[in-house]
Amino acid sequence: QPAAPAEQPAAEQPAAEEPEMKFKVCQVTDTGGIDDKSFNATAWKGAEDAVAELGVEAKYLESQEVADYEKNLNAFIEEKCDLIITVGFLLGDATKASAEANPDFEYTIVDVSYDPVIPNVVGQVFQTDEAAFLAGYLAAATTQTGKVGTFGGLPIPPVTIFMDGFARGVMYYNEVKGTNVEVLGWDINDPEGGLFTMSFDDQTKGKEFGIQLMDEGADIIMPVAGPVGLGTAAAITERGSGYIIGVDADWVLTNPDYAPIILTSVLKKMDVTTFNVIKDAMEGNFTGGITAGTIENGGVDLAPFHELDGMVSDELKAELEDVRAKLIDGTITLSDAFKVQ
C-alpha cells in the first residue's frame, strides 16, 4: 500500500500504521448490512474469530444498493485484500464478475455455489432444511396446542429452505406418531405460498406476525427474517406462553434476554465455514469449489436447549438423534428443490 504523503504529521497515529503486513480479510455485506442478525453478521463472526485466533486483520464494507457490490469489491481489490468474503445470493453476479476479472485474488461467498466452479472462489452452501427438519420434529413433539408457525422475510430460497425443512419435520412427526400437528405459514405442497413479512428489518411486523400466529393457536414459532424475528420474541415474551426457534446463530448466545423462550436454534454455521476458509487461505491451502454444510458434517445443526433443557425429555432427545441418523443415511429424504449440491 502506498504511503500517504506526509503532509499531516498529526494524522499519523502510531496504531494506524503497523510495520508487519497482516493477512487481510475483507467482507462485503449485502444491503442488509453487517448487523442483520443473520448471514452477514454470522459470516462476520467467522472473520472476527479469525482475528482473535489467527491474528488476521478484518474489514468490512456495507452495501447500500446493488451497484455498490462491484464498487465495494473494487475497493477491496485496491486495498489488496488477501481474502474477500461476500455474503448472500444477491452478490452472486458481482462476485463472479470480480473473481473472473481478478484471478489473482481469492474469494469466498456465502449461500451461493457456482456451476461450473470458479477456481478462485469457495462457495459456501448449507443444507439448512436438514437442521430445520429436526427443529420441526422437536416443535411438533413439544407443542401444547397442536399448532406451530413459521414465517420468512422474503420468499427466497435461503429463507424458504428453513421453512420447508421445518414443515417436513412436523409432517414426519405426525406420520410417525399419528398426530395432527398443524404448521401455519408454510405448506410443503405449495412452495409458491407461505407467510412473509416482505422485510428484513421491520420488527413491528415481526411482532404482529407473532401475535397473529399465536392468536391462531401456534405456540412455537420459527421466524426466518433476521432481526424481524426479535419482534416475534418480544410478542411471545409479552404473552407469556409459547416458544421461539431461532435461526442462523444460536439465539441464546446472540440474544440472551430471550433465553427463557428460545427452545432451540437452527444453526447455519457460516461463521465456522468462513473461519475455515480464512484458515485455509492463510495457510496457503485455498482451493476453489464448494463447501457444503450438512447435518452430517456439522455445518448445519440444532443448537443446545440451554435453559429449556428440562422441557425436552431424554426420550425425545433420543428420537431426535434417531432422526438425525436417518437424515444422514438417507432414509429420510427432503425436497429436491432445495438440494444445494
Binding site: 448490512g33 453487517i34 448487523d35 456495507e62 408457525g149 401455519l184 405459514g185 405448506d187 405449495d190 405460498g193 407461505g194 407467510l195 412473509f196 416482505m198 422485510s199 428489518d201 421491520d202 420488527q203 413491528t204 411486523k205 415481526g206 411482532k207 404482529e208 406476525f209 401475535i211 397473529q212 400466529l213 399465536m214 392468536d215 391462531e216 393457536g217 432481526p227 426479535l230 419482534g231 418480544a234 415474551t237 409479552e238 404473552r239 407469556g240 406462553s241 434476554d257
Partner: protein, 423 residues
Amino acid sequence: MASTIIQRKKIETVSPTRKLVMGIVFVVISGLILLFFALNSEAEWITTFVMNPGGLERGLAGDWVLPTSLTLYVLVGLTLGMGIYQLLRGFGKQTNAILGVVVALFVFAFLTWAAGGKSLNLGGMLSSAVLLSVPITLGAFSGVLCERAGVVNIAIEGMMLMASMVGALVGSITQSLIIGLLASIAASVLLALVHAVLSIKYKINQIISGTVINIFSAGMTSYISAKFLQRYEYLNGPPIFPRFPIPLLADIPIIGPILFNQNIFVYAMFILLIVLQVALFRTRWGLRLRSVGEHPKAADTLGINVFRTRYMAVLLGGVVAGIGGAFFTLGSVGRFDEMMTAGKGYIGLAAMVFGNWTPIGSFGAGMLFGFADSIATKLSILGTTIPPQFMSMAPYITTMIVLAGIVGKGQMPAADGEPYEKE
C-alpha cells in the same frame, strides 16, 4: 343597511351522476360477493370466528359459528338491497356512510369465505389492528396539531425515527421505561424545534425543512446504530411497557380485550384522541390555534401571538410524534434497528389528510390502515392465493382512491404551509 345581503340560489348539491355511480358500485359489490364468495363456497362449510385475542383471561366471549354460504347469501341480499335503494331513492347525505357500511360488509364476506371450513381469530385481528394503528394515528395527530396551526410537517417520519432510537438507547442505559419515554419525547421535540425555527423564523419552505429533518434523522439514527447500538448489545435492550388491563373495562366481552387490555401507547392514543378533539374545537386554546392556521394576520390583530402559537403547536406535535416513535422500541419490540419506522410517519400524514385534519378522522383512517395491515397478515396465515405483496398494497391504493375524491374534498387549513410575515 340590509340592502346588500345577496341571497344566492343554490344549485342542487348531491349530483345525480354521483347517486347513480354509487348505486352501481353497491350493486357491483353485491355481485362480487355472490360471484367470488357465495358461489365459491361449499354448502357444508362452517366459519368459526374466534372472538378472543389469544393469551387473555378477561372479557372472554363465545365464538361466532356461522354457516358459511348462508351468511354469504344474506350479505349478498343486504348489499343488493342497499344498492337498489340507492338507485331508486338515494341515501342523500348518508351516501358516504352507507358506502362505508357496504365496504365493511364486503370485507366481512371476504373473511367469512376465506375462513370457510376453518376458524379465524377475529378478536385477535381487531386487537392487532388497534396496535398497528398506534404509530400511524399518533403520527397523524402530530400532523393535525402542526397543520391546524398552519405548519406543514412531513418530518413526522424523521421525528418518530429519532425518538425510537433515542428511546431505545436511553431506555437501555437507564433500564427505565419512563426515562426512556421522556428521552424519546425530548429527541422528537428537539427536531420539532428545528422544524419550527426553520419554517417559522427563517420561513423556509416547510416541505423542504421537513425533508431536511427526515434525511438527517435517517442518517443520524443509522450512524449511531451502526457505531454503537449494534456493537454493544447493552445499549440496545430497553424494557418494554407491559400490557395493562384497565379495571372493569377490560372485562367487557369483545370490546374489553380489543380496546382495554393493551399497553399505555394504545391508551395514550385514545386519550389524545379525546383530548385533542375537545381541545381543538371546544377550548380557547384550540380556537386560537386554529385561527393561526386559518388566518394568521387576523389572529395577530386580535393580540394572538402567531409565532408563539405556531411554535407551541409544532413542539406539541413533536411530543405526540415522540410518543409515536417510542412505541416502536419501548412499546413494541424493545430494540432499535435502522429505518424501523418503515414509513409509518408518511402513512400517518396520509391518514391525517384522509381524516380531514381532525383527530377523530385521523383516528378512523389510522384504524383503517391498521386493519388493512392485520387483515393482510391474517389472510396469509390462512393461506389465500393472493400474493402477500398485493395484500400490502391495499391500504396505499385505498388512500389514493379516497384522496381522489370518493369521500369528497377535505377542508385543509387555509394558511397551511404559509410562513407568516409580520412586516
